[in-house]
Amino acid sequence: MKRFRGFVIKEFYHIFRDYRTLLILFGMPAIQLMLFGYVLTNEIKDAKIAIYDPSNDVITRKITDKILSSGYFILERNLSTVDEIDPVFRQGEVKLALIYEPGFAQKLEKTGRARIQIIGDASDPNTANMLVNYATGIISNFLVSMNSEKVPYQITPEVRMMYNGELKGVYMFVPGLMAMLLMLISALMTSLSITKEKEMGTMELLLVSPMRPWQIIVGKVFPYVFLAFIDACIILALGNMFFGMPIIGSISLLLLESFLYICMALSLGILISSITNSQQVAMMISLVALMLPTILLSGFIFPVENMPVIMQVLCHFMPPKYYITIIKSIMLQGNGIEYVWRETLILMGFTAFFLGLSIKKFNIRLTS
């Protein structure tokens, strides 16, 4: 036990004397959170639009008012001819153009039919799509309110978005960020610190000592369990304070699940370090083989349901996916273990599998 303590103390010396490690450990969660929170937002707010309204009557003005008061759009320009649309788009500010047909109100009155053209700037297809949807939605709402007395039959869908009423991005990226950062810190840092011993030749000395290999490994990994756990708390706290990320369910269950996920990532890190001998290779494997799938295949950014079948199958082998499911369920829906036991078991399975494999791979001798 004393040996183990001495070993862990040494490991903390390493960590606290290397400012780069410290920066990655504690700077990264904060920076990433801010980045995702403030910069990479895909919510629509104050998109600039241009309007061409040759008829300029009661109804077109009403519609324009509705659209501008929705909070999604602000009026950048009133166009005087249709030809101005292209140059306005090219300037890049305006994302959407509304064109009313001449004599809009009259036509609506007489024929019951009037046309609005919505033109989106599809050089950014996602945004264009979303803006068009918002605008269409506002217009059809307006139509319904206008017709409410005349039309005998009406089906009105009442949409309510449960668990994330305002469709906030934070609800998605805080869990994703936790999955990503904990994976990075745990797997990358441990695999680096173990391969560093190999590179420096100190692994030779440790192996020749009476320390058992598992003691060496546990000793190396232990500080990172602790640090990754602190990181998880930092992300949760920041997400809650700055972005209003709710934690409806039990915090202790959330932390326990995070702890399990950290252990899983650490065992993955151990596995990486047991099959590589240099820090560089370990870093490459951790970044390419872990980070990208974590970001792309975990459902963090791209919904798993939209992927081709092969990718969906692949997604089932991505541990972060289960972790994200678990913590979303706990944080947003307030679910208890009875709802996430299956994912928890899968994470445990992953941990056991990686640990078993790395124990099998770990050498009591030098492999060279």
Partner: protein, 306 residues
Amino acid sequence: MSDITVHVEHLTKKYGETLALDDISFDVGKGELFGFIGPDGAGKTTLFRLLTTLLLADTGTGSVAGFDLVKDYKNIRNISGYMPGKFSLYQDLTVEENLKFFATIFGTTIHENYDLIKNIYQQIEPFKNRKAGKLSGGMKQKLALSCAMIHKPEVLFLDEPTTGVDAVSRLEFWEMLKRLKDAGITILVSTPYMDEASLCDRVALMQNGRIMTISTPGQVIRNYPLSLLSVKSSDIYHLLGELRDYPGVHSVYAFGQSAHVAFSAQKIEPEALSEFLKKKKHESVEITRIDATIEDCFMELMNSPE
């Protein structure tokens, strides 16, 4: 059995196609200071890694302090101290922290075995708060030796401890080894420096994975079959070539500023050689009869077919 600490029979180790160790057998007695002398690539490091159980031999058996190299590797790791050829301490830890760490993982304390390392450690103790990475070469070696010694090992394996260390520190280092030997510790040390051979009780001369001879340094020299002249001249470059052509000469090697000329029997008279060289326009020719050094013996062994 009891007076033999390291026993090795027919060890062979291959890296792929390369034969790193070829049928190595030797015994090292208890309390002996045993040297492995040979150039880089002779197989010294591989041999040490086999003996410290870091690698497995392809064939052959061996034991350290009666423990089998394969079966009892845990026991061997408990009783041996190892200093790898590359400086392998934690550069970002201070001198004292390194020592403390190695004491802890061997289940002891600096205090407990301080007497053993006192002589060595005292020299670097003034720098105990300095990071190990910032020490000079000589000080690093002293620290590494202290760390290898801190758990009072029965056997010390020192792989090229004096490589890259200045001459004064090398001498000091060997004096330290002598003291450790006097304390009853068996020491196996490897070195590429031939002049260090005479400081060992016995040496094994190694080349290309084979041991060419095992003997006391004195005996190695007495076994030298040739006579030697040291020849100096102002033009050492041409001297070497011309000496090789001289009748009766067996071999010529450059030794710093002079050439060592080896010849069998007593055929060569220094005076005649001197005349010969003067005719070849060599100035300030100096010829002296010398005794062979380990290096001369090594060169001879290297070139003579089995």
